[in-house]
Symmetry: C2
Subunit: 113 residues, 2 copies
């Protein structure tokens, strides 16, 4: 399993609009590169570069089917992560029991200094 540090690097790799779209396609199932071209408005070499990055970080893999390369997901955190990105959340977390700036109310929790 990946360490926390590796997971953070994974986040960085994933945090790009094109790569998120690629992954969204791949959670649905195997896709070859030309399938992906239809959904993504990027050049073929650029798509290939994004695929290589995801491949190098063990997020996806492919098998060869004639002259097609068929990509699929291998990193198990991805489906959960994509789901999380679409989950509904309330606007903001409740702040601490004290007003910003005004300084009224008490400071919640410990502090040293």
């Amino acid at each position: 399993m990946r360490s926390l540090g590796q997971r953070i690097e994974l986040l960085r790799v994933i945090a790009h609009p094109v790569r998120i779209k690629i992954l969204e396609e791949l959670v649905e199932g195997v896709k070859c590169v030309s399938d992906l071209t239809e959904f993504l408005e990027v050049s073929q070499p650029n798509l290939s570069q994004h695929l290589a990055l995801l491949r190098n970080h063990r997020v996806i893999d492919y098998y060869i089917d004639g002259r097609l390369k068929c990509y699929f997901l291998v990193e198990p955190i991805i489906p959960d992560l994509l789901e999380l990105l679409k989950k509904n959340y309330r606007e903001q977390l409740p702040g601490p029991e004290c007003c910003p700036i005004t300084k009224k109310g008490k400071y919640p929790g410990e502090r040293r200094r």
Copy 2:
């Protein structure tokens, strides 16, 4: 609520070891900057820059308590995201019913071309 595009940008902002550590501290509760300094091995100005980035992206906010600034979480996706990063996963997702390279077995799913 944030759009998917904004969520992806949020991922990018979060995907840094120092900023993840900051957020891990803040899910526990309010912390002032000098509290954070004890946990993070970065210079004060650098910490301040990371805080500013998180602030500018509406991930955290603070209130002023004398000469302290007390930071807290406001972005509601953060606790779930941090939990996800620590979740246990099996090594890899099951590949499609076909061997890479060997080309044996059938190609799963539709394809056009």
